[in-house]
Symmetry: C2
Subunit: 234 residues, 2 copies
DNA sequence: TCTTTTTTATGCTATTCAACATGTTTTTGT
DNA sequence: ACAAAAACATGTTGAATAGCATAAAAAAGA
């Protein structure tokens, strides 16, 4: 798990620059001494619901999902992480065990810091504390919005929203149309609160309507305006 | 809006004691000088989606709902406040306008503090900052859990959950069975992600099954164990 | 108090979506 | 390269729930 050749360290520290610049020089040194790098393979689990949260996570490269296992084997993806974003620390500050699990969509590299250290810094560094207040405050709004979207939108609208989100979050390939993330239909379903069957069906429908083009896991957005329209109305 | 006879002030300050005890004597004085009391009638709006958040709210008495207006006139209640709880400050720390609205279920009294002052205190008072980190971190988990409950549970399970929540949150009357809050069927539906028709129908079903007894807006829980069972499985 | 409006109740219908079945294609592991 | 497993595709069916209509009851206002 531990890996600290200077190139990796420099990369990690660079990824943490939002946080770094809020720290005193001594704190910056302490961070470097307590920073771990971990690699995860595709579909590998980073942490699981019920576990004790000890590490603050920063995604350096790759793509990660945060999800809740629900009723009857169903799963809801509640957050999707891109580099460089922070995650896996909420439960610690709420004095809870993890209430979500996290897994890698694809091969990913994560930088870990004992969150207890971060908390200690926050006791002395208000800028840092306010940074996390802001992060969490934004996350509450996102989660509430997701609740409404997932409960009130129809299936086509929910899928359209997920596709738009993936485009905006992870971007497009060089052709300016193909989603940079290759998700399974199941993951797409778990983002959009629907069964895998319906994700497949609805994707096919979108393809037939020339809104998207599908080639296995590759999804190309052809008519983005239409997708936005479906997201809004349906 | 402003009301500061000493009895009211004492009451308000007492309600804020969680926060008060984290403040320096000077800050406590400043709080008393910048504290407003406002009364709201039943169904009156405290704030609306889109407005600029300026005040930190503390509910002193009464009952308040926080909700989002969604698609096609539908509404989702995302939070339910009881005395003494804090609310209406999240948007400020996220640098957003309000993304929810708040209204009084019944006649309520609220204590208001300019949230800008609170933020200023947080810059100097880490205990206070960590207190709000904790509040927000808990709220994120609640919201994620709500997403899963509202999307994955069946209609009976969702209603059972709302009834249990109302019992646990607002308590029971002296008979040890009747919910202390008298909600309209519409509000109950808006908590439980269903139409008013279905809230009425499902309540009637519960009553016929002797799980509850209904007398207008009065709801008496007869078979709490059964309600828990329905919440869990259904 | 009387009228008007809102809320509650219940039945019927239409729609959405999940469940299941089956076959095909793709991926994975050896 | 091949077998086994997983993911994808598509059709059919049925259950869950929204939508609408109507009427009764309750609450709000004048």
């Amino acid at each position: 798990m531990r890996k600290k050749d200077s190139a990796v360290l420099t990369n990690a520290v660079n990824s943490l620059k939002d946080i770094m610049q809020m720290l005193t020089p001594e704190q910056q040194e302490e961070l470097k001494d307590n920073l771990y790098i971990q690699h995860f393979k595709k579909n590998e689990t980073l942490y699981r619901e019920g576990e004790v949260p000890e590490m603050f996570h920063c995604l350096i490269s790759g793509k990660v999902k945060v999800y809740k296992d629900g009723i009857g084997g169903r799963t809801q993806i509640v957050r999707v992480i891109k580099p460089v974003e922070y995650f896996g620390y909420r439960a610690y500050f709420a004095n809870q065990n993890y209430v979500t699990s996290a897994a890698a969509f694809e091969a990913s590299t994560v930088c870990l810091i004992p969150v207890e250290i971060l908390e200690r810094w926050m006791m002395k560094n208000n800028q840092l504390a306010l940074f996390f207040i802001r992060q969490l405050a934004i996350e509450v709004a996102r989660s509430d919005q997701r609740t409404v979207n997932l409960t009130q939108k129809h299936i086509r609208g929910r899928l359209a929203e997920s596709l738009i989100f993936l485009r905006d979050n992870y971007g497009l390939e060089e052709d300016g149309a193909t989603l940079s993330i290759y998700l399974s239909r199941e993951d797409l379903a778990n983002m959009s609160n629907m069964t895998t069957s319906n994700a497949i069906r609805t994707l096919s429908a979108f393809a037939q309507e020339k809104i998207i083009a599908i080639d296995g896991k590759k999804i190309k957005i052809i008519d983005g305006d239409n997708l936005e329209r479906i997201n809004k109305i349906g």
